[in-house]
């Protein structure tokens, strides 16, 4: 075995991932190579020394000393709370959702609703007057629907034709983002 390979095995030994077979190879090499034997001895010494000093007991009264120091420290912790939504925003979103929901329901069930209103003597006249408006609205909505469908199909065609460019660009952007993330130090 080459000394370079033995060195790699010593590193694996220090990482604690040396297999039995590798250990035997390394042992054999060390008995034959003085220089690797010496290196192994040095590395072993470092490991032993560090391991021997793994846990040192903190001095007696450590907790009391710390607690005495923090006794007078007042910290205004910023507690993480769910993102606050002010009342006005909540009301606007609520109203919008309600109107949108009613709109969608009216669009889907516009014929049964109209029939119901026409069948009622009190709302008959009003409902009849509304028929042209409902028709116009239905045309508008259908237009919007077909435009949206067109847009989606165009978009997917565009994506298909551009994906050879778009995917590498996205990959590069993702790598840059990842690099920035790794570089970002947490400030403590």
């Amino acid at each position: 075995m080459e000394c370079n390979h033995a060195d790699k095995l010593i590193m694996k030994y220090m990482d604690g991932i040396l297999s039995m077979e590798e250990a035997q190879k390394l042992n054999l090499h060390i008995t034959q190579c003085e220089s690797c034997k010496e290196s192994f001895f040095m590395y072993q010494m470092v490991m032993d020394e560090l391991r021997d000093e793994a846990v040192s007991e903190a001095p007696d009264g450590f907790e009391a000393a710390v607690m005495a120091k923090i006794k007078d420290i007042e910290v205004d912790y910023k507690l993480k709370e769910p993102m606050p939504i002010d009342n006005l925003t909540a009301m606007l979103w609520g109203t919008f959702s309600l109107l949108f929901g009613i709109g969608v329901l009216l669009y889907i069930y516009n014929q049964p609703v109209l029939e119901f209103l026409l069948g009622n003597p009190y709302t008959k006249d009003w409902a009849q007057a509304m028929i042209p408006t409902v028709d116009v609205l239905s045309v508008y909505v259908s237009d919007i629907k077909s435009k949206l469908q067109e847009l989606v199909s165009n978009g997917s065609q565009l994506f298909t034709s551009l994906k050879m460019i778009a995917i590498p660009v996205l990959a590069v952007l993702a790598s840059i983002k990842y690099y920035i993330y790794r570089k970002q130090k947490v400030e403590i």
């Binding site: 290196s39 470092v46 040192s56 007991e57 710390v66």
Partner: protein
């Protein structure tokens, strides 16, 4: 009680609960600092400072990491800052925190102590960026990934630093062996 629950209690104003956290992590923090400074008194002061910093920043703890990882990060950063301020003073052999062991004869003990001092000197000679990962790996038994979380550097860098640190330690010991007393 889990660390996170204790932290939540502290954040809600139960200051006395912090003592439990100190009790759980004091030896870890103290051991790392002692190994990096080789001065028990300084290690004690800095370890206390670590806990005060932890207390002040408790709301910044993200449970994505283990609490021990977070506290080790604060510890290593604080030691680096403090060393930077002190401009790295040299530590004499007399200041080493070693007590003679009762095992073995005086000569054997002398040799053991001498070898140990050689390793300490070699470790002290390492730049901090190499010393911290090697201490965390070989002394505290952290994995490469955990060290990467503590020092906030990519895994590849951590592996490389540990590899280079070992090489540097070996070179240092080989050099000092030429004029030293211990043999194979």
């Amino acid at each position: 009680m889990e660390d996170y629950e204790i932290i939540q209690c502290c954040l809600q104003g139960k200051k006395e609960m912090f003592e439990e956290l100190v009790s759980r992590y004091k030896n870890l923090v103290y051991s790392i600092i002692l190994r990096m400074t080789n001065d028990p008194e300084e290690a004690n002061d800095l370890a206390q400072e670590v806990f005060i910093k932890v207390y002040r920043n408790l709301d910044k703890y993200e449970p994505t990491y283990k609490f021990s990882t977070w506290i080790m990060r604060i510890t290593t950063n604080l030691v680096i800052d403090s060393r930077r301020k002190q401009k790295q003073s040299t530590i004499s052999v007399e200041e080493m925190p070693y007590e003679p062991s009762s095992e073995g004869g005086p000569e054997e003990e002398y040799l053991r102590q001498e070898k140990s001092n050689e390793v300490i000197d070699a470790l002290n000679a390492l730049p901090e960026m190499y010393r911290i990962p090697i201490i965390l790996f070989h002394q505290q038994g952290l994995s490469y990934q955990e060290i990467s979380d503590v020092i906030n550097e990519p895994l590849s860098k951590v592996k490389n630093r540990i590899f280079r640190a070992r090489k540097m330690l070996k070179e240092y010991l080989l050099k000092s062996k030429e004029g030293g007393i211990y043999g194979m």
